[in-house]
C-alpha cells in the first residue's frame, strides 16, 4: 500500500487492529502501462525529489524507471485539476484510460498479530548544513545530491559536474560528520554509514576521472564492518585519496572556488581551495518519529530513534511491535537487512500458531499434455517506443510468421501488461500452442511473469523462451535501426529453433525435515535456537565445551549498563528447559551429510556417537580474544587484555588500587596480526575506562588509538569518557607505542602528535585491545562445503542482501563466526539466521527451479570431476550396480552449468539448456 500511513494501533500482541490511511494515486495501478505519455503532456513542472530536486519532472510521474509499483501517480500538490479544477490534459493522452480523478482517500482497518516498524531515517536540517555554506554556495552539495549527480540515471546522466557552471570539478573535498557527532546540531551520535559512502563516492569519482584530486576531512575513519577497512585501504592506495584528520571550521567562496579553513592534526591553521565540497550528511531520526511513536505506542530515545535494549535490539517498548533498520539507530544496509529478517523472525515467534491461516495460496490448473509436433507462438513487444522506436517490430513479426512451426504471431505495445497476458493465453487456447517465444526486454526481470502466464493456462513453464530485443537490439544499436531490426530477426529465428526442442521440465519439490541444528552455544547460538524453537520447530543445540554461554560468561557489564550475567542466566535457563530444544554440551559435530531439507549429522558426545536428522543448519561457532605476542603480553603481569581488565574491575576493591592505565587500541587488529578491525574493542575500552572512573575517579586513563570507532549511540559514551577526563591520544600504524619492562614496573612510550614530542608513562597497567579471532572452523567449513574469508570468518552469500545465508542452501551463519561484532548485533543476527532457517522449515518443502542438471547414467564414467567442481555441493557420486555414477541433488543445484560444461563424456545436461537446444540455436544463427 503506497501513499499510506499508520493512523492508530489498538489491541495487543497477537491481535492488533491497525488503522491505515491511504491517499489516492489518481492513476489506476492495474491499468497504467507506465508508458510516460501523461508526463510528456502535463504543463506543470515539479522538482524531482528522487533526484534530490536537482532535476524536474511533471505532476504525473513515477519516482524512477524501476519504481515499484510500476504505475505512475499524480502529485496532488501540483496538479492543476486537483488544485484549481482546470486542465485535465492528461486524461485523453492516456490510451490505457488509467487516469482517474474520482479516486478517494481510504481508511482501512487491518487485523494483524504483530507490527514491524521500518520507517528509515530523516534528513539533517538545512540550518546545520548552512554552517558549511550549503544553500549559499551552489557547489556545496550533500552526499545524497552527489550520489544522484554520479548516477547514470541522475540529472547529469552520471557526468560529474558542478551545479554552478556545469564544469568538471578538478578538486573535491568531502567533509565528514555533518550533523553527526556534533551536540550543537542536536545529534551527539555517530551516523555509522558516512565514512563508507564517502570512500565509495570518492572511488566512483576517481573511476570516472582519475585526475580529480580528492581530500576527505574526517575525525575518525569508522570503516569498522566486515571487509570495510580493507576496502578503504584499497581505495586510498589505488586512487590516492587524501585523508586529513580535521574538522573543517569554515567554507568561504573565493572566486569560483570554495576555500576551506581547518586545523591539521599538529594543530596548524591551514587553508585550501576546492572546486566542489560534498557534505557527508548523517542519518537523522525520521521526521515523523514522534507522531509514529504516539500512534504505535512506543518509546523513543533521546535522539528520537526507537528505544530498544542492548539484549533486545529488535523489540520496541510495546509487546508485539518490532523495529528494523535505521529507525533503531543509524546503520548501514547489511545491518538493516539483518534486523529486518530478525524482526520478521520475532513476529513469527509470537504468531507461529497462526502461520498460514491468512495467506492466499495460488492454484494452478493441471498441466495439459502437449502434442509431439511443435506449435510455436511468437509475441513481439514494442515496449512503447523503447523497442518500437528503433526496431521495426511489425517487420520482425511478419518475419516470424515465415519460420517453420510458428503458427501464431502477435505484436503488442507492452507484452508485459495485464491485457497482453490475456492475449497470450487466448492465443495458446485458440492455436493449441505448445511453445511460446516472447521477443521483448530482459528475461532477468520479465521471464517469471510470462512463465506465470503459461502456468495459468496449464502449460509447463519450461516451454517458454525469451528474446531480448531491447538491450541487444534497440538499446545497443539505437542509431542503426535497419541493423537492429535485422539482428532482432536473427535472434527470433534462433529462439524459435531452440523452442522447437524445448520439453516440459517437472516442477519438483523436496520435503524438509522440520528440525534445525545449531552449532555453537554462545549467545548467538542460544538466541538462534530459542527463536527457532519459539517459531515452533525442534532444534538441536550443540556446544563444543562443557558450558553454554561462550564469551558472554566473561562479560561483567555492557556499555549501556545491562547485566550480562542475568542475560546468560535467563537465556540458558530458557534454552535448557524449552520442550523443543535439545542441548548437547561437550559435543562435536563429526560429520554432516545431505542437503537442504535432509541433513544427517553425526554428533560425538561424551557417551558416544549419535546421528541426528535435520532440515537446516545454523553456524554460530563464535570467536575469542586474540592472543598477542607483543607489548609484553604474557611476560609482564602489568599487561592485560580488555576482558582481563573487565574481570578486575568487577571487584571494586581491586579497581580502587589502579591509579594509572594506558590502553592500547588495535594492539592486535588492523595490523600485522589481524588485518581487519575487530569492531567492538573501542566500545570495550570506553566501557572499562568509564567503569574505572566510576570506581576510582582519580585514576588517570590514557587511550592510545588509531581511530575511535564508537559508532552509533556508543559515541555518547566516548564523549562522556572525555568529559570525565579520559585522555585519548592518536597514534599512526607506522609509529606504534612501545611497552618496555622497567624493573618490577612497566614503561610505555608514545608520540603525542599534538604536543609534537615523545611521552613516557609508568602506568600500573597496560590494557591491550587485542581483537577477535574466529574459533577453529576449517574442518566444519569443509564438512559443510562453505567458503571462509581470508581471515577464517564464514563468507555470507551476499554481503548486503543475504547477510546470514551461505552459498550452500539451508546453512546460515550468525555471531562472531560471521565477523567481530558487539553483543546486540550478534543477537539481531542470530534472530535473523533463525528467521531464514525457519523459511524452509515453515514451508515444509523446498521448491526446485526446473533449470537443474541431470546426469545421463549411461554416459557417466564416474570420474568425479563434476563433484569436485560444484560450488554448491549439489552433485555427488553414488554406486549404481557397483559402478560409480554422478547424481544431481536437485534441491541444492543452482543451475550454473559448471558440471555440464566440464563433463568429459557430455553425460550431464542442463534443463532448458541442453546441448541439442543450444546447438540448434547456433545452427539457426547461420541459416538466414
Amino acid at each position: 500500500m503506497t501513499n499510506a500511513t499508520l493512523e492508530s494501533l489498538e489491541g495487543e500482541a497477537g491481535k492488533f487492529t491497525a488503522k491505515v490511511h491511504r491517499l489516492p494515486r489518481f492513476i489506476n495501478e492495474d491499468l497504467c502501462t507506465a508508458c510516460g505519455v501523461c508526463t510528456m503532456y502535463c504543463p506543470v513542472l515539479v522538482s524531482d525529489t528522487y533526484n534530490e530536486e536537482l532535476a524536474i519532472t511533471r505532476a504525473p510521474h513515477k519516482d524512477y524507471p524501476q519504481a515499484v509499483p510500476a504505475s505512475f501517480y499524480i502529485d496532488p500538490k501540483k496538479c492543476l485539476f486537483l488544485n484549481y479544477e482546470t486542465c485535465q490534459i492528461c486524461i485523453p493522452t492516456c490510451q490505457a484510460k488509467a487516469i482517474d480523478f474520482s479516486q478517494k482517500e481510504e481508511r482501512l482497518d487491518l487485523s494483524v498479530g504483530a507490527v514491524i516498524l521500518a520507517p528509515g531515517f530523516g534528513r539533517i536540517s538545512d540550518k546545520v548544513l548552512a554552517r558549511y555554506g550549503y544553500g549559499r554556495f551552489p557547489d556545496v552539495v550533500t552526499s545524497l545530491e552527489f550520489e544522484r549527480i554520479m548516477c547514470a540515471s541522475g540529472p547529469s546522466r552520471g557526468e560529474i559536474i558542478r551545479p554552478s557552471d556545469g564544469k568538471h570539478p578538478q578538486k573535491i573535498a568531502f567533509l565528514q560528520c555533518i550533523g553527526s557527532r556534533d551536540i550543537t546540531s542536536g545529534n551527539g551520535y555517530c551516523s555509522s554509514v558516512c565514512c563508507m559512502y564517502a570512500v565509495k563516492e570518492a572511488t566512483v569519482v576517481k573511476e570516472h576521472a582519475p585526475d580529480v584530486d580528492i581530500s576527505i576531512f574526517y575525525m575518525d575513519m569508522r570503516t569498522a564492518g566486515k571487509g570495510f577497512d580493507a576496502s578503504r585501504q584499497r581505495a586510498r592506495d589505488t586512487h590516492h585519496l587524501r585523508f586529513i584528520r580535521s574538522r573543517v571550521a569554515e567554507v568561504r567562496e573565493r572566486g569560483d572556488k570554495l576555500r576551506l579553513s581547518y586545523a591539521d592534526s599538529e594543530g596548524n591553521h591551514k587553508e585550501d581551495d576546492f572546486d566542489m565540497v560534498v557534505l557527508s550528511v548523517g542519518l537523522e531520526s525520521p521526521e515523523d518519529a514522534q507522531s509514529l511513536a504516539v500512534t504505535a505506542g512506543i518509546k523513543l530515545n533521546q535522539y528520537d530513534f526507537c528505544d530498544t535494549k542492548a539484549f533486545l535490539p529488535l523489540d520496541a517498548s510495546r509487546p508485539g511491535v518490532y523495529v528494523a533498520g535505521a529507525f533503531q539507530g543509524p546503520k548501514d544496509i547489511p545491518e538493516s537487512v539483518m534486523q529486518a529478517i530478525g524482526s520478521a523472525a520475532a513476529a513469527a515467534e509470537i504468531l507461529h500458531e497462526a502461520r498460514g491461516t491468512e495467506v492466499i495460496r495460488k492454484e494452478y490448473p493441471s498441466e495439459m499434455g502437449i502434442a509431439e509436433e511443435p506449435r510455436i507462438g511468437v509475441f513481439v513487444c514494442h515496449c512503447g517506443i523503447n523497442i518500437g522506436g528503433v526496431v521495426n517490430v511489425s517487420e520482425v513479426a511478419s518475419y516470424a510468421r515465415t519460420l517453420k512451426d510458428v503458427v501464431s504471431v502477435d505484436d503488442s505495445l507492452y507484452s508485459c501488461s495485464q491485457d497482453s497476458q490475456k492475449v497470450i493465453k487466448d492465443a495458446i487456447k485458440e492455436h493449441n500452442l505448445n511453445r511460446v517465444v516472447v521477443a521483448a526486454c530482459t528475461p532477468r526481470t520479465h521471464e517469471p511473469l510470462f512463465q506465470e502466464t503459461l502456468r495459468d493456462i496449464g502449460l509447463n513453464r519450461s516451454l517458454f523462451e525469451m528474446v531480448n530485443i531491447r538491450d541487444q537490439c534497440s538499446w545497443v544499436h539505437a542509431h542503426e535501426p535497419k541493423e537492429a531490426t535485422a539482428k532482432a530477426k536473427d535472434l527470433v529465428r534462433m529462439a524459435v529453433a531452440k523452442a522447437r526442442l524445448l520439453y516440459p521440465l517437472p516442477e519438483q519439490t523436496v520435503p524438509v525435515i522440520p528440525k534445525a541444528l545449531v552449532i555453537g552455544g554462545g549467545i548467538a547460538g542460544m538466541t538462534a535456537a530459542l527463536s527457532i524453537a519459539e517459531q515452533g520447530f525442534e532444534c538441536f543445540l550443540v556446544e563444543n565445551s562443557a558450558q553454554l554461554g561462550g564469551n558472554l560468561r566473561r562479560l561483567k557489564t555492557t556499555l549501556t549498563g545491562e547485566d550480562p550475567g542475568q542475560l546468560l542466566n535467563e537465556v540458558e535457563t530458557r534454552a535448557r528447559n524449552h520442550p523443543r530444544i535439545k542441548v548437547y554440551t561437550n559435543t562435536q559435530v563429526e560429520n554432516v551429510s545431505g542437503y537442504i531439507g535432509n541433513f544427517a549429522s553425526t554428533l560425538s558426545t561424551e557417551t558416544g556417537s549419535e546421528v541426528i536428522e535435520h532440515g537446516v543448519v545454523v553456524v554460530a561457532t563464535g570467536g575469542r580474544e586474540h592472543r598477542l605476542k607483543k607489548y609484553l603480553y604474557g611476560q609482564s603481569k602489568h599487561v592485560l587484555t580488555q576482558l582481563e581488565l573487565e574481570e578486575i574491575l568487577s571487584s571494586p576493591e581491586k579497581a580502587k588500587k589502579i591509579n594509572e592505565v594506558v590502553m592500547i587500541q588495535c594492539a592486535g587488529s588492523r595490523g600485522d596480526d589481524l588485518s581487519y578491525c575487530s569492531k567492538l574493542c573501542c566500545g570495550q575500552a570506553v566501557k572499562n575506562a568509564l567503569r574505572l572512573k566510576e570506581l576510582n575517579p582519580a585514576a588517570s586513563i590514557y587511550v592510545l588509538y588509531r581511530d575511535v570507532r564508537t559508532y552509533g549511540f556508543m559515541e555518547d559514551y566516548y564523549r562522556e569518557a572525555r568529559e570525565k577526563g579520559v585522555v585519548f591520544i592518536n597514534y599512526e600504524k607506522e609509529n606504534p607505542p612501545v611497552v618496555m619492562p622497567n624493573d618490577d614496573k612497566i614503561t610505555v612510550e608514545f608520540m603525542d602528535v599534538l604536543l609534537g614530542e615523545k611521552v613516557k608513562l609508568e602506568p600500573d597497567l597496560v590494557t591491550l585491545s587485542v581483537g577477535i579471532v574466529p574459533n577453529e572452523v576449517e574442518e566444519l567449513a569443509k564438512l559443510l562445503k562453505i567458503p571462509l574469508t581470508q581471515e577464517n570468518f564464514f563468507l555470507e552469500a551476499h554481503v548486503k542482501l543475504r547477510p546470514v545465508e551461505m552459498a550452500v542452501s539451508g546453512v546460515y551463519v550468525c555471531g562472531l563466526a560471521h565477523s567481530p561484532k558487539p553483543i546486540d548485533e550478534s543477537i539481531s543476527q542470530a534472530r535473523a539466521a533463525a528467521g531464514k532457517a525457519c523459511v524452509p522449515l515453515s514451508k515444509g518443502f523446498v521448491a526446485v527451479e526446473p533449470i537443474v542438471s541431470s546426469v545421463g547414467k549411461d554416459k557417466c564414467i564416474g570420474c568425479g570431476i563434476c563433484e569436485s567442481l560444484c560450488p554448491y555441493k549439489a552433485i555427488h557420486l553414488i554406486k549404481v550396480d557397483k559402478k560409480k555414477k554422478a547424481e544431481t541433488i536437485t534441491a541444492s543445484c543452482k543451475g550454473c552449468g559448471i558440471c555440464a560444461s566440464h563433463c568429459p563424456t557430455l553425460a550431464i545436461s542442463m534443463g532448458g539448456f541442453t546441448n541439442e537446444e543450444i546447438m540448434a540455436q547456433i545452427r539457426a544463427f547461420g541459416e538466414c
Binding site: 500500500m1 516498524l117 570495510f228 580493507a230 520478521a344
Partner: protein
C-alpha cells in the same frame, strides 16, 4: 481476550517500504504470514533506491 490458542492473527503489518521493510515483508510472506506493507510515499525502495552504488563492492543498489 485474544490470548487463547487460535485467536491470534496470521497477518503482520510492516510500516515503511525501504530495504528493511521490504526485506521483513518478503521473509514474513515466505514464512507463511499475510503481510500489509505500508509505505507513505508513492513507491517502495526508500533511500537505497537513491544510491548509485554500494560500499564496499560497488554493486548497483537497485
Amino acid at each position: 481476550m485474544g490470548r487463547e490458542h487460535g485467536a491470534k492473527s496470521g497477518a503482520v503489518l510492516v510500516v515503511g517500504g525501504g530495504v528493511a521493510g521490504v526485506q521483513a515483508a518478503l521473509d514474513l510472506a515466505e514464512m507463511g504470514f499475510h503481510v500489509y506493507l505500508v509505505e507513505k510515499s508513492a513507491s517502495i525502495g526508500g533511500a537505497m533506491a537513491r544510491l548509485d552504488k554500494t560500499f564496499p563492492t560497488n554493486d548497483c543498489a537497485l
